[in-house]
Amino acid sequence: MTEQANNLNTEFRSRTYNIPLDNIDTDQIIPAQFLTTTNREGLGEFCFYAWRFNEDGTAKENNPLRDHHPDRQQVLVVGSNFGCGSSREHAPWALLDYGIRAVISSRFADIFCNNSLKNGLIPVTVEEQLVEYLHAHPDSAVRIDIARRQLTVENYGTIQFPLDAFSAFCLTRGIDQLDFILQNEQEISAHEQKYNK
């Protein structure tokens, strides 16, 4: 029924995994060759595909994800401007299906951030200094509390991260954003009449 109901995600603990690169674009997260699908499921297999696999499907040696354990490292720590490029929602779908629940960066691209929040993938924006700390301390234990908008990092402390009130409300209550828009049917019709649309 609701978009978020299946992955209600108000508070969780995990370990971090570092990809210390800036400007990781959505073509890296999910290459265009996998966008001909008409489903949103099963894209984890293709997440960061060109980083993980050679052309012939064999595993790559210099894979930035080679030491990643998605079962316990569900939080990625990345460089700035993560998710730049295309508007493909396949990017958060792929990350979630791959096992990622939150991404920590000093800056996210707008559309990626929007798309993530609509699917329960949490973009956690923090100061550059904390990103550097996490990069220097791989596999850190973290706790993310969406309702309180708090990130707790072991041996570092707890910080607030920005998250708009409405997204936090929807994520923690399982409120569906389309249902919310449709509750404004009268206002939408009134707007169409006023502007002769």
Binding site: L21, N23, Q28, L35, T38, G85, D110, N114, L182, K197
Partner: protein, 476 residues
């Protein structure tokens, strides 16, 4: 300096204000009415599936306009008129959007339409794109339509579903960034060089959270094709949208187009459109000044569109971080070197950035009576059927074919490489498209972004080179 009065507002604020169904509050984002929803095969199937699952209908099919462009082959159909898709999944995706649009009464310009094209080329050509509109599409290059003074931006598939069902979007109000571009462009410098220069200056996240308004004498002097190129790549500096205030150039472009207002409605519309400009006393959240006279033909050297140098300029050395080092390693370039004389394997002229008639004319001017370098593959892909017809009427197809380039069917083609038009691993592509991300044009392919003039010059010389020598020599 004029005093700012409370009623002074920017172009963006005027368009935003007109579309507010509900104001933003501390608890909820604004509800913004969407005038035009553009759709294509890649980002819509899951949205239609969601509507079906919930038993919802499309609220305003008359405000939707669809085409097929990304997964479509650009090779000619066979003798029986069959199109050869790269995979059965690609065919299925195209057939899915056709089915969905037919079911919901949405106009789709498919294989049989004389108007089919890249969505951001087709919309303006039809006159569907108009000043003051809000326009969205599940495609980040929707920013193109801002060239007409529309507020146009890319959305994800969940939001495509929102707009289909409600004709509205939840939006928090973005910041504004004014980019003033002044001065005359040197010969051989195009809108593509201007936007590459801007992204190189403000960075690939320099516009994040903002709607850009481009203004100044350089912008006023640009035709609509150039303004579209400029706005198209706004997303490459992270901006939500790019806009140019409409003027006589805009109105002349739109007059008489199939979906433009006609007769009395046209006069009323133009009178209204003339009010769509930033008031003298209004200010932007941030402001950047660009000296157009200093811009030279530009190319990218790395793996994002902000790594920009002039064609004959050395790749910056010194302050290189891990990301730049990784980019140079991928590209096989070194800090301090120039790109001149790097051997080019493929030239791609096309994409929603640079596939319009003026782009093809510029490229043809260089390629006329010359030959594509031995061993180099050159693809010229018109942005739409309309561009193709106009180019063929001009004889441009013959110029390209005689030069040894491929003249293909309209589509996104090698910009995104979803349809099988890709470069081989390691190949160096000089491309008039918008993204040089790793593997964007095929696994392990390497991309240099450039203008149609520069790309055409590279096709002839087989090396990274500017069009200067050919512009001086003329086409004969």
């Amino acid at each position: 300096m004029p005093q700012q009065s409370p009623s002074d507002s920017t172009l963006f604020e005027k368009v935003w204000q007109r579309h507010l169904v509900r104001e933003e509050s501390a608890e909820t984002p604004a509800i913004l009415y969407i005038d035009l929803h553009l759709l294509h095969e890649v980002t819509t199937p899951q949205a239609f599936a969601e509507l079906k699952k919930r038993g919802l209908s499309v609220r305003r099919p008359d405000r939707c306009l669809a085409t097929i462009d990304h997964s479509t082959p650009t090779s000619a159909p066979d003798a029986e008129g069959r199109h050869h898709y790269v995979t059965e999944q690609a065919r299925d995706q195209v057939e899915t959007v056709q089915r969905n649009c037919a079911k919901h009464g949405i106009v789709l310009h498919g294989w049989d339409s004389p108007n089919r094209g890249i969505i951001h080329v087709m919309g303006p050509e039809l006159g569907a794109t108009q000043p003051g509109m809000t326009i969205v599409c599940g495609d980040s290059h929707t920013s193109t339509h801002g060239a007409f003074g529309a507020l146009a931006f890319g959305i994800g598939t969940t939001e495509v579903g929102h707009v289909l069902a409600s004709q509205c979007l939840l939006q928090s109000k973005p910041n504004t960034l004014g980019i003033r571009i002044e001065g005359e462009l040197a010969p051989g410098v195009t809108a593509k060089d201007v936007i590459l220069h801007i992204i190189g200056t403000i960075g690939v996240d320099g516009g994040t959270g903002s709607v850009i308004e481009y203004y100044g004498s350089t912008v006023r002097a640009m035709d609509m094709d150039s303004r579209m190129t400029l706005c198209n790549m706004s997303i490459e500096c992270g901006a939500r949208a790019g806009m140019v205030a409409p003027d006589e150039v805009t109105f002349d472009y739109l007059a008489g187009r199939p979906l433009s207002p006609q007769g009395e409605a046209w006069d009323t519309a133009v009178a209204d459109w003339k009010t769509l400009k930033t008031d003298a006393g209004a200010t932007y959240g941030a402001q950047v000044d660009i000296d157009a006279t200093a811009i030279r033909p530009s190319v990218t050297y790395g793996t994002h569109p902000g790594m920009v140098v002039a064609v004959d300029e050395a790749i910056p050395s010194g302050d290189t971080n891990e990301s730049i080092a990784a980019a140079l390693e991928y590209m096989g370039f070194k800090a301090g070197q120039t790109l001149a004389d790097e051997s080019v394997d493929v030239v791609f002229i096309g994409s929603c950035t640079n596939s319009r008639l003026s782009d093809l004319r510029a490229a043809a001017g260089i390629m006329k009576n010359r030959k594509v370098a031995h061993g180099l593959r050159a693809l010229v892909v018109p942005g739409s059927e309309e561009v193709r017809r106009a180019a063929e009427a001009d004889g441009l197809d013959r110029i390209f074919i005689d030069a040894g380039a491929q003249w293909r069917e309209p589509g996104c083609s090698m910009c995104i490489g979803m349809n099988g038009d890709i470069a081989a691993p390691g190949e160096l592509v000089v491309s008039t498209s918008n993204r040089n991300f790793k593997g964007r044009q095929g696994p392990l392919s390497r991309t240099i972004l450039a203008s149609p003039l520069t790309a055409a010059a590279c096709a002839i010389t087989g090396r990274v080179s500017s069009a200067q020598q050919f512009l001086e020599a003329g086409s004969d």
